[in-house]
């Protein structure tokens, strides 16, 4: 079996679950992966062994303290062997994937949702079509979360290499989000509101459910454009963020093509809308025809008792 390299996804000083899914993506390609963990402290890689993995390398460097695409790509490139490279299709890892590919003179295939031999399938035209490509030779690919099952952990040994990279940008200031809630691009559960919420104040009802579930709060473009209080960073859709969480709950969102483009690949979609003919229902696994005033309190208390 040929070798492949997995760039571990890290989040808040831990290795994110999607890394274990990348192991099975690498195996689907007929390769045996080496997991590379970019870090400032190699203890993050403790317990980062997975069934089916050749080895785990913690790449330790000061350049990994803040994200700088040039230095991350340089340091990872220096530490990683050759082979097909897999990364998670998150904004940051797609960025690294593109730089690593360019650095090695390779092509990059982003947002892979299915692997069949050397054929890779990704959504194109905002999910309005799917494209399957054949790769030959080493390629860098990013794989979406929630597509492959997670590999089991194993107690593999971790080797540590020190690596530096020249940092090309300087962080002047870190601006923490006003709330501790996750961003829509980070969350596995998202509850979004549209103009059907009636006023931005009513988003507090979505926040309450989000906090019960550890979810992020999103919004449709109509809501962002209508209300100054709803920032663009919350927007899911064509000119906002593309998300594919396990669960997406759309409240008071009609389901314009613009919005569907950003969330249609979510694993499960719940729609709450008072209009039984709203297009969003055609994409919902579970539809609730009701006003948000009727549905959200019921949903909130049901989730609260489940999480208790």
């Amino acid at each position: 079996m040929s070798e492949s390299i997995i760039i571990a996804e890290t989040n808040k000083g831990t290795i994110a679950d999607v890394t274990a899914e990348l192991v099975n993506a690498a195996i689907a390609l007929g390769t045996t992966p080496t997991v590379v963990v970019p870090c400032t402290d190699a203890t993050i890689a403790d317990g980062a062994g997975y069934e089916g993995v050749a080895r785990t390398i913690a790449v330790k460097g000061d350049c990994f303290s803040n994200y700088d695409a040039a230095s991350w790509a340089a340091a990872i490139d220096a530490a990683a062997p050759s082979g097909i490279i897999l990364a998670a299709a998150t904004p940051q890892s797609k960025d690294i994937a593109a730089r690593l590919a360019a650095r090695r003179g390779l092509s990059v295939v982003q947002d892979v949702v299915s692997i069949n031999g050397m054929n890779l399938t990704s959504p194109i035209y905002s999910g309005k079509a799917m494209q399957t490509v054949a790769i030959s030779g080493d390629t860098v690919i990013s794989v979406r979360a929630n597509v492959f099952p997670a590999a089991s952990s194993s107690g593999a040994n971790v080797s540590v290499v020190d690596q530096s990279g020249d940092v090309a940008t300087a962080v002047q200031e870190i601006i923490a989000r006003a709330s501790t809630r996750l961003d829509v691009s980070e969350a596995n559960i998202i509850i979004s509101g549209g103009r059907g919420m009636g006023s931005p104040d009513n988003f507090s009802h979505l926040e309450k459910i989000a906090d019960t579930l550890g979810a992020a709060v999103g919004a449709s473009r109509a809501a962002v454009d209508t209300w100054d209080e709803i920032p663009h960073s919350m927007q899911v859709g064509q000119t906002g963020k593309t998300v594919n969480p396990n669960l997406y709950i759309a409240v008071g969102i009609s389901g314009a093509i613009q919005h569907l483009a950003g969330m249609r690949s979510s694993k499960y979609i719940v729609a709450v809308n008072k209009d039984a003919d709203a297009p969003i229902f055609a994409h919902a696994d579970y539809g609730i025809v009701a006003t948000w005033e009727e549905a959200l309190p019921v949903l909130e208390s049901a989730f609260s008792s489940m999480m208790a």
Binding site: V108, V109, S122, L247
Partner: protein, 247 residues
């Protein structure tokens, strides 16, 4: 005074219906537009010029049909329009596209490049960082709220929030919307764009290692379950836990 390049790409209008014929997408009937995020890149590039002087050149890679988006960029206010192409590029992959663009950017003598955070057709977001790597430049992706006083600084998302980063030296900045309002072409701009000449250049591109096998409609989603009334939310919550296993 900075030599600024902005990368633009022609894509089907984002409201267009995407039709699949055989095993390929049929784009013969779509309306072509500048990829929406590239409009944010054009606006940022023009603001950069207004703050620091210099010139803005819009650059695209594509056949002659791509001239339209260059003229659209000209109408909005860019100074020069350049297209890089070779008719031999029947199927060009990301490696080829980035190599060719990097050569054209070098030829133009650019110091700073703006592009959209992704193109609306592929959604990949590879071009900005990939071109930067080939040029040996810095890159900042998904950037917003650029400021040009005392050097370039931009906002970029970071875990738990965002960071204000400064960029010294040459860089490729991939732009998101943020609080940006893009300017629209005026009558004078549209008239000037009509007369504008596209400067067509060529470059070399490595052979493609990624080939398209098929393009298909998205898999049909099985019909969902639909419930009437707010009280049904309790049942939906239970299904999310017991049937979907996502709670």
């Amino acid at each position: 005074m900075p030599n600024i390049v902005v990368l633009v790409k022609r894509v089907p209008d984002t409201n267009a219906r995407i039709v699949v014929n055989g095993d390929r997408v049929d784009l013969s009937a779509v309306k072509w537009v500048i990829s929406p995020y590239d409009e944010f890149a054009i606006e940022t590039a023009l603001q950069h010029k207004e703050a620091a002087g210099g010139t803005v050149t819009a650059l695209t890679l594509g056949p002659s049909g791509s001239d339209k988006v260059l003229k659209d960029a000209k109408a909005i206010g860019v100074d020069e329009i350049v297209r890089v192409w070779d008719d031999a590029w029947t199927e060009i992959d990301s490696n080829g596209i980035q190599s060719a663009l990097a050569q054209a950017i070098t030829e133009l003598g650019a110091e700073i490049v703006y592009c959209g955070k992704t193109a609306a057709d592929t959604g990949a977001g590879s071009t900005g960082p990939g071109v930067a790597e080939r040029l040996g430049w810095a890159s900042v992706s998904n950037s917003t709220d650029a400021s040009f006083d005392g050097g370039l600084t931009v906002n970029t998302p970071m875990e738990g929030g965002s960071a204000r980063v400064s960029v010294a030296g040459n860089a490729v900045i991939s732009c998101d919307k943020g609080s940006l309002k893009v300017r629209k072409p005026n009558v004078k701009g549209i008239m000037m764009a009509k007369r504008a000449q596209v400067n067509v250049v060529t470059a070399t591109a490595p052979a493609s290692t990624v080939t398209i096998v098929s393009q298909n409609p998205p898999p049909a989603k099985p019909a969902g379950k639909k419930f009437e009334g707010g009280s049904s939310a309790e049942q939906v919550a239970r299904l999310l836990r017991d049937e979907a296993n996502v709670i």
